[in-house]
Symmetry: C2
Subunit: 185 residues, 2 copies
Amino acid sequence: MPRRENDTRSRIRETALELFASQGVDKTSLREIAERLDITKAALYYHFPSKKDLLTELIQPLFDDVETLLDDAERTGDLAPRVLLGRYFDVTARHRALFLALLYDLGTLIELDVVTRIFQWRDRLQRLLVGPAPRPAEIAACTLAVGGVQDCAITVEGPSAAEEYREAALDAACRALGVDTAGTQ
Amino acid sequence: MPRRENDTRSRIRETALELFASQGVDKTSLREIAERLDITKAALYYHFPSKKDLLTELIQPLFDDVETLLDDAERTGDLAPRVLLGRYFDVTARHRALFLALLYDLGTLIELDVVTRIFQWRDRLQRLLVGPAPRPAEIAACTLAVGGVQDCAITVEGPSAAEEYREAALDAACRALGVDTAGTQ
DNA sequence: GTCTATAGATAGATAGAC
DNA sequence: GTCTATCTATCTATAGAC
């Protein structure tokens, strides 16, 4: 074990995520990250060749989680909407800080390649929930369900109330979708 | 009639809104606005003392509309949720470009004083829909309904499909809220 | 009302010493 | 791996001529 490798690197990731989530990616300069860590900008550039690289690396775990979720759901097939949305709630809650950061400035994200992938999530989720070639009524229901579950997961503050809001959000989402929620957990 | 007064001024407003909506406020520089209008930055500053002033003036009509809507609903009292949400859909759709701009970089907005006011809308809408002191289940339902109606209104592209999506979104929102939608229009 | 010119600040990024 | 020093680009905003 080569002592505690990557210490600075992971401290950078941690601080960057914190600042990105609280004030947006664009409004967080590398200078600010460096100052908070009491290192210099140049030191930061040693670990990450660009701001974009730093952000990309922060986003990767979220992407992995969501895509694992979708792959799994598509492989299983015929998953109950409530279970699928519940898993989506959990992923969103787990990456809450990152979601906030992405939400703060969508504009920045568009310049990255991530937005196309996020749209693909939506499409895949929609296909899983209301099938291909949905009518407007189904698209609207799906928009409420997915967006609403995500909003609730992001909004919830402590993990204390999380469980209660989770069930509440899922109930509302199932009603919006018009699916029976009784019996499923 | 002093000829066509304020021509340049309103052209600036128009172009700025267009650019803000398509790429975000922060990523739109005054230089870019000026170039597209074929005037100089300095000329722009003659009409608007700062970028913030320009943005504030663009936002004002939206604020007026929403607050009129809320004032009216509170005065009337006991308005059917579907009617209230329908009006909110209409306001959102009318100011679609501006909503997009605000959505693109929330971070910028936080620095303005607008976010507190937007939170107040949410509170007032929530109070109108599920009353004061709502439980988590009601908060979640309201989050889905309001957020979802807004999302649908922003997402809709042409005014052709708008009517169909409007009804679809309102139906889904009412289901999420658990209110009977039959009979109301 | 619109221009040129420029101030003043800050951003992301790089070179090279240690 | 971290530093100092510096580059280049871009931004908002202002002063003052026309």
